[in-house]
């Protein structure tokens, strides 16, 4: 018998194809659960067609796809599925903007963006696959982007 670890949701949002191990960071970026009282299910290291992945299911809440684009930094291959009556009614691949502002800290401790200055961190996306970003201020490339998520 097939074991069903998490049941399908009736209404809400499913974020699929999250980089394995990054589901909690995705929730952190989306400020969940602080901004919702809905039931949230998290699956980590699930076997998918293209290897392991994480999945997040948020019941009774439809996330705005644009709002979710900011997770592209840590889960560039994620897809957003809006569910109504158990059916996927909308599907959206996250899109990384040209510039990433205020989402992740520069990994260079002596970068001016880490000092007490009135600026947000700012990165240019120089490659999407593999994901590479460069600090607008100090021109360094952080190796572990997820580690710097604010």
């Amino acid at each position: 018998m097939k074991e069903l670890k998490v049941t399908p949701i009736k209404d809400g949002t499913v974020i699929d194809h999250i980089t394995p191990g990054h589901a909690l960071k995705v929730l952190h970026v989306l400020k969940i659960p602080q901004t919702t009282s809905s039931v949230v299910s998290i699956l980590m290291n699930v076997n998918g067609k293209k290897g392991k992945k994480d999945i997040v299911k948020i019941e009774n809440r439809e996330l705005d796809p644009k709002e979710v684009d900011k997770i592209a930094l840590i889960a560039p291959k994620a897809t957003i599925n809006i569910i109504r009556e158990y059916e996927v009614v909308k599907k959206h691949n996250v899109e990384l903007p040209e510039e990433v502002i205020g989402l992740t800290r520069c990994s260079n401790p002596t970068c001016i963006s880490n000092a007490r200055e009135p600026v947000e961190s700012r990165f240019h996306v120089i490659s999407r696959d593999p994901l590479r970003i460069k600090c607008y201020f100090c021109e360094r490339e952080p190796e572990d982007i997820a580690a710097g998520i604010i």
Binding site: T110, I112, R116
Partner: protein, 311 residues
């Protein structure tokens, strides 16, 4: 090609054509830089020099360049007497200097400081070194020195020796030399090798730098030897430091193996890496290189502040 009111933050903001234009223009500045000719080109204009870190050549040559162009200079060479010591942000210091001047030169210990300054300033920002980051005017004067001594940059075998890991000038210089398709050799001890990302940038221009620790071999084929200081604090013990410094010391014995027209450059200050006996040889170009900071900075100031009028 637009220079009027432009910020000078990183050599990577410039195309090869723009750099060539600056080098040509700097050549025309030499008689003004030596005092042979006089001009009031930038009279009534004020340059603010904000040095949050010590500097000798960069600050003096910027100030000399502005005075030679007929402008005036305000600023500080030591932040201890400024509001920064009271905890003022760099952004606020820049807003203040912006209202007192027509352009701002900044040296700061933190990387990205000049880029941040440009965000808060209406007047152009010239980066005079931001921590271990960029120092574009040093890079331009180094290029100018090679270009004017060797008549071209392309095809010259340029050997960079010393601390290639932490040395601020060598990273931007390797980038710019690759843009001009110079042949590059990087000579350093294993622990102070050129970072991989700099080597990758060179490769993006189609240049394949050679990395070695053997200076004696590299010097035989060199057209330009660019020497940098090896800092004692980078080594775990004094014995290792002394061994490395000894193996990269440039003296007349080593130079006997070099081509007669090899030029030896150094961003200065030098400590022990070039023996003073080299100063009198035809190879020594480092003091001329330091002078070249004036015409290069004059060219930049004129292009940025001259309102499109050339000297």
């Amino acid at each position: 090609m637009k220079f009027n009111q432009r910020d000078i933050i990183s050599i990577k903001d410039f195309s090869k054509e723009e750099i060539e234009y600056i080098l040509e223009y700097a050549k025309r500045m030499i008689p003004y830089a030596t005092g042979e000719k006089h001009t009031t080109h930038l009279s009534q204009q004020i340059l603010a020099t904000l040095f949050f870190e010590p500097s000798t050549r960069t600050r003096l040559s910027f100030e000399s360049a502005m005075h030679r162009l007929g402008g005036s200079v305000i600023g500080f060479a030591d932040p201890s007497g400024t509001s920064q010591k009271k905890g003022e942000s760099l952004a606020d210091t820049i807003r203040m200097a912006d209202s007192y001047s027509d352009a701002i030169v900044i040296r700061h210990p933190q990387e990205g400081a000049a880029r941040l300054a440009a965000e808060f300033s209406e007047v152009p920002i010239l980066n005079a070194g931001d921590g271990a980051g960029q120092h574009p005017t040093q890079c331009l004067l180094d290029l100018f020195t090679i270009w004017s001594e060797k008549k071209k940059v392309k095809g010259n075998n340029i050997v960079l020796v010393g601390d290639l890991k932490y040395g601020r000038t060598v990273h931007s210089l390797a980038y710019a030399l690759s843009m001009f398709k110079a042949d590059l050799t990087f000579v350093s001890p294993e622990t102070l090798k050129m970072p991989k990302e700099v080597i990758n940038e060179c490769k993006e221009f189609g240049v394949e730098p050679i990395s070695t620790s053997n200076l004696e071999k590299a010097i035989k084929e060199a057209d330009v030897l660019y020497v940098t200081r090896i800092q004692k604090e980078r080594f775990p013990d004094a014995e290792e430091y002394n061994r490395v410094v000894g193996s990269y010391k440039i003296d007349n014995t080593l130079l006997q193996q070099a081509k007669p027209d090899l030029i030896v450059m150094h961003p200065l200050p030098r400590i022990v890496e070039i023996d003073p006996e080299v100063d009198k040889t035809q190879h020594a170009i480092y003091f001329k290189q330091a002078f070249n900071g004036v015409p290069i900075r004059m060219a930049l100031l004129s292009l940025i502040l001259g309102g499109g009028k050339k000297l």
